[in-house]
Symmetry: C2
Subunit: 128 residues, 2 copies
DNA sequence: CTTGACATACGAATTCGTTAGTACTATTCT
DNA sequence: AGAATAGTACTAACGAATTCGTATGTCAAG
């Protein structure tokens, strides 16, 4: 079966972040987590999670009266798909310009930059 | 209600790419460039460019009978904004995880990785 | 001067993302 | 048992994004 669309809409992503963080959740769990940030209706969360389940991002099983949801794919896989879609859409598939932007725009703390530079060194020397 | 996109929507971006590449364009120029990739109506392009002008991404001036459009902001500025929005939405504002994904997923050719590693070295040693 | 080419203006249809109300069911509390 | 509570299903609605048709105006060639 063809894998479902790797991209999530903004609100879908918000919900998936909570699911990835908590592991197994009910609609109520997600609802309460979202309530901390903003006003939202319980049924809205339910609708979104039903859609996410239809799209293959969530799996559910019944437990007592309510459904318990869990992520169908690991976070890394989905995030990787979103990055790929972004790189394709904005940079026609080549990641170098994005990397250059990130490095140049000082959006990253210096010590992290250095850490990453070391990591690149290891990766590149390790695979030849 | 779907929130109004603060950045460029996919189709808007497609048009802006053409504008940035060509400099000054008429609707027809963009229409013909898009036709190479896919079927689209002339009036669709016109509508999109009108919207882009209303949103402040394009400027127009009359020349003979038609409008000539040009980008209101340089490509780098707009792309930077899109990256920022993406990092905020997907990574809660921190760019390191994105960088890590890019480096780890081998989406980048080795020589480019090395080039970037050197660039980081210069940047980080240069600013302390 | 009429016709054809080409431009814009206007508006409308469609799909999608997002939000939420209402009806109904099942469980729990008094 | 009857009421309150908590869950799902179904439906509706709205705005944003995308697409394009029709009406209309203008200019130039025959």
């Amino acid at each position: 079966m063809r894998p479902k669309s790797p991209t999530l809409t903004p609100q879908e992503l918000e919900i998936m972040k909570i699911v990835w963080q908590l592991g197994s959740v009910t609609v109520r769990d997600v609802y309460e987590a979202l309530l901390v940030e903003r006003r939202i209706a319980y049924t809205t969360v339910m609708t979104m999670m039903k859609i996410l389940e239809e799209k293959g991002h969530l799996k559910k099983r019944r437990q007592d009266r309510a459904y318990v949801y869990h992520a169908a794919q690991p976070q890394n896989t989905v995030i990787r798909g979103m990055i790929r879609e972004f790189v394709d859409r904005v940079f026609n598939g080549s990641a170098e310009p994005l990397l250059l932007h990130l490095v140049r725009d000082r959006r990253i703390r210096e010590k992290d930059l250095e850490k990453i530079a070391r990591m690149i060194q290891e990766e590149t020397t390790g695979r030849r």
